[in-house]
């Protein structure tokens, strides 16, 4: 069922290894980094909005 005879065949990709693994590598990298960037941005936005909200409530209390 598995198409490959050996692990080194799999890595070599019939001589196209650089192109195939290059494509998959960059895609995997982007799909790993994008969610990290998005969640970092979310955390910093929430922290900033919280600071704003606290400052506002303090001002209205005085």
């Amino acid at each position: 069922m598995i198409h490959w005879n050996s692990f080194s065949d799999f890595i070599a990709m019939g001589g196209y290894g650089l192109y195939v693994w290059g494509s998959f590598g960059v895609t995997a990298l982007i799909m790993a980094i994008e969610p990290i960037v998005v969640s970092r941005n979310r955390k910093s936005t929430i922290a900033r909005l919280k600071r704003q909200l606290r400052a506002e409530t303090r001002n209205t209390a005085e």
Binding site: F10, S23, T27, V38, R42, I46
Partner: protein
């Protein structure tokens, strides 16, 4: 009548926000399952292509990324149309949340295309109709993001960006039909409704990878949309309650 399920309710950020938050883990999980199944079929089971050898396996990310780059643009244009016609708050937020993922998909499509073109055509890039129109799609995404970022007022940014999206939508059929309309170096489509030119395992591997990319895009866009919602709605009661009860930004 009061309890009747009402779809319009979810057009309000106050109800959409918690719903999106609850759905994200499921989209991530489904994306991972589809991705693993697609990689297993595509990289381990699918046979060698009789013309392109093992190099054709780039198809398992090139085609899903290209499809998503076009599909995300259409969804954004759809949101823009709704936003311009009905002046709904959610539309612009959704379009903005989708844009960076769409741009990344267009970039991946071009990059994997170059990595595929080099061994097959002998060139990283040719000014072919398919490639050029996809490059224009990337520029449309970047243009939309730059335009909306340059306008301070969020509602005006949504309107200007929405118009750009609607005008640019003409590019999508051009990309899609370019391989039919012009003599291009780019190969024709591998998947037809009538008959497919691919082996079954190749086709299923590609479709599973497309589902993986699709679910991934939804998950990331929803994450982004939730942040945009909080930021834009921070004066409202629901957003204040959410911020006060939220611990995600703690320690910063």
């Amino acid at each position: 009548m009061k309890d009747r399920f009402n779809l319009y309710r979810f057009a309000s950020p106050a109800t959409f926000y918690p719903l999106a938050g609850a759905l994200i883990p499921y989209f991530v999980a489904v994306s991972v399952v589809f991705g693993l199944a697609g990689l297993w079929l595509g990289m381990l089971v699918a046979p060698t292509d009789f013309q392109q050898g093992e190099g054709y396996r780039i198809i398992f990310i090139h085609v899903p990324a290209s499809w998503m780059s076009m599909f995300i643009y259409l969804v954004m244009a759809g949101w823009a149309a709704i936003g311009l016609a009905f002046n709904t708050r959610l539309s612009g937020m959704m379009a903005q949340a989708l844009a960076p993922t769409g741009a990344l998909m267009a970039f991946l499509s071009l990059l994997t295309g170059a990595l595929w073109g080099k061994p097959m055509w002998g060139a990283w890039w040719v000014w072919d109709a398919r490639l050029t129109s996809e490059l224009i799609l990337l520029f449309l995404y970047i243009g939309y993001m730059a335009l909306t970022a340059a306008i301070d007022d969020a509602r005006r940014a949504d309107k200007a960006g929405g118009l750009l999206l609607l005008v640019g939508v003409v590019n999508i059929p051009i990309i899609y039909f370019s391989v039919k309309w012009w003599n291009t170096l780019h190969q024709g489509s591998s998947v037809n409704l009538a008959k497919s030119s691919m082996a079954t395992t190749m086709l299923w591997g590609m479709l599973l990878m497309a589902m993986c990319f699709w679910m991934y895009s939804i998950a990331v866009a929803l994450m982004r949309a939730r942040t945009i919602m909080l930021e834009r709605e921070c004066h409202t009661d629901w957003a204040r309650a959410e911020l006060l009860g939220n611990t995600e930004g703690a320690g910063k």
